[in-house]
């Protein structure tokens, strides 16, 4: 049945490409989460009237985030080729896609972290201060737990965007389902390969969304 519908699909290749896409998405999501979280917290705490209020740091972080968030991803990959070469030693393969994926997505997530932190009731932060909490304690025990559902739903949206980015990175040789769909499907006019790669990507997206929604719901005690 599958053979008649998808005559040109090499299932072993398809599986390998799927794993590569999952690998790139998982790795980049992890680093995006860490870097975006740090950037978002810095943006939040250095804003006026906040605990670390600092105009210069706030402006610099804001500028960095805005610039990298604004560059179209496909151009960012090309711009980052020398950097990637220096860091990974090659511009081909799943690992070579990671710097561009992370630098493209972390600022995006940082903005979401900032929005999530701004949603926290100021009174709760004031209460923690009135108890004698340090800023570090406030970050760990107030900011992060109180914004957890928004942080999780934000990283879910970002991870899904990253699945799309990996496909774009695939066009310039990162591997994964994007490369397969482009080289094997588009350039050799095998529509069934493109279709199957699309279905695989959709499944990944649905699974990510499902896990994200589940965790968000579990974290939200409001």
């Amino acid at each position: 049945m599958l053979e008649t519908l998808f005559p040109n699909v090499d299932w072993a290749d398809m599986w390998e490409a799927t794993l590569e896409t999952i690998y790139m998405t998982a790795m980049s999501t992890f680093f995006t989460f860490v870097i975006g979280l740090v950037l978002g917290i810095v943006l939040f705490l250095t804003a006026p009237n906040q605990l670390w209020a600092n105009k210069i740091v706030n402006w610099l972080t804001g500028a960095f985030v805005n610039i990298f968030r604004s560059i179209p991803f496909i151009i960012l990959i090309i711009l980052l080729i020398p950097f990637t070469k220096f860091l990974i030693g090659s511009i081909r393969g799943p690992n070579a896609a990671l710097p561009a994926l992370i630098i493209g997505a972390a600022p995006f997530y940082a903005r979401m972290v900032l929005i999530a932190l701004k949603e926290i009731d100021k009174g709760v932060i004031e209460a923690a201060r009135s108890m004698g909490a340090t800023t570090w304690t406030i970050i760990r025990k107030v900011l992060l737990p109180e914004s957890k559902p928004a942080l999780i739903s934000g990283i879910t949206v970002t991870a899904i965007a990253l699945v799309g980015y990996t496909a774009m990175a695939g066009i310039i040789g990162a591997g994964g389902l994007g490369t397969l769909a482009f080289l094997d499907g588009f350039q050799r006019s095998r529509e069934d390969v493109t279709l199957m790669a699309t279905i695989a990507i959709l499944i990944i997206v649905f699974v990510v969304q499902f896990i994200g929604d589940f965790l968000t719901g579990k974290a939200d005690k409001r």
């Binding site: 009174g123 709760v124 209460a127 004698g132 909490a133 109180e146 409001r222």
Partner: protein, 341 residues
């Protein structure tokens, strides 16, 4: 003991300068429940935040039990804050934590071990009457229960001073009374000094020993609650007192009462403290040949005694009425003739 000296806070927004607190001098002895009343914008929120260093004063000092709060910062200030805790109008609980975990939060900050935290939170849950709710999340609690968690949390590190920032303003009247009773109970049991700010005279009347009235950043009137009720000096104070006593003094009401009770004489009696509980009226009726008709009455109980007003219609021979009034005067009851019929 809390001592404020020349305390001033000016907010400089670049364009405008706003003096929120203007040279306030106050002394609150240990164990007192001290109320600060004012309308919004009077500076009371800023004042209470100066007491635990959440705001830094522009001028003046705050001394709590000998420690100058305004002179310290960093770890020292954080340590001091553990002894000057605060409850809030909107409770400010962490929704991500259960009742028990919320109460344990200040203990975590103070570096108390897990076992000790458990023990202490269990005691506090019992103290504020939340047994059985320890695993509930704030979202599952009523307003009054949330404030009980807030109080338990504030008491966790055995503070010397409890600051209440409009702690009952978001609660319905019944819950307000229950929370106020809890505060009085804590004050008596733990000997805690309580400073509260409010815009409701009811709160002051019910639990405070002394009150300061704030307007435009200044303390315009200060004194024993009973005394302030009895002799409010400033217009703003009179308005606050009227919130609870509703002494129907306006010309309109007097005229209306006189229309309703055209005979005899209308007299307003003001009882303060012990007199409110003495059978003065019984004696009056027994000893003088006057007919007494109660037109309107109101008694407010404060922490240091009751305060009441009573409007009577006295009917009888004029000399008996004046003798009766003299009798009341001799018993320290203030009388005020509201006009002959």
């Amino acid at each position: 003991m809390i001592e404020l000296k020349g305390l001033t806070k000016v907010f400089d927004t670049g364009k405008a300068r706003l003096t929120a607190v203007d040279h306030v001098d106050l002394t609150v002895p240990a164990g007192e429940i001290f109320g600060i009343i004012g309308y919004s914008g009077a500076g009371k929120s800023t004042l209470i935040r100066l007491l635990n260093g959440l705001e830094k004063p522009s001028e003046g000092s705050v001394e709590i039990n000998g420690q100058n709060i305004t002179a310290i910062s960093g770890p020292k200030l954080r340590k001091a804050r553990q002894k000057v805790s605060m409850i809030f109008q909107h409770f400010n609980l962490l929704w991500s934590r259960t009742v028990r975990e919320n109460i344990e939060f200040p203990l975590e900050i103070a570096g108390v071990g897990k076992e000790e935290r458990r023990k202490r939170s269990a005691e506090l849950i019992e103290l504020v009457g939340l047994e059985g709710r320890e695993s509930a999340y704030p979202a599952q609690l009523s307003g009054g229960q949330k404030q009980r968690v807030g109080i338990a949390r504030a008491l966790a590190n055995d503070p010397e001073v409890l600051l209440c920032d409009e702690a009952t303003s978001a609660l319905d009247p019944q819950t307000t009374d229950a929370i106020l009773e809890l505060l009085v109970d804590i004050n008596k049991r733990l000997g805690l000094t309580i400073v509260l700010i409010t815009h409701e005279m009811h709160v002051i009347r019910k639990i405070c020993h002394r009150v300061a009235v704030m307007e435009g950043g200044r303390v315009v009137e200060l004194g024993e609650v009973l005394h302030v009720f009895q002799h409010p000096k400033e217009t703003i104070t009179k308005r606050f007192v009227a919130q609870v006593t509703e002494t129907e003094d306006s010309a309109e009401t007097v005229r209306h009462l006189r229309e309703q009770y055209p005979e005899g004489q209308l007299v307003k009696l003001i009882f303060v403290g012990d007199q409110a509980e003495q059978p003065i009226l019984t004696q009056l009726i027994r000893e003088y040949t006057v007919e007494v008709n109660i037109v309107h009455g109101n008694i407010s109980h404060t922490q240091r005694g009751a305060y009441g007003t009573l409007i009577l219609q006295l009917k009888g021979p004029a000399e008996e009425i004046s003798k009766a009034l003299a009798f009341l005067g001799a018993h320290d009851v203030q009388t005020e003739v509201m006009g002959d019929a």
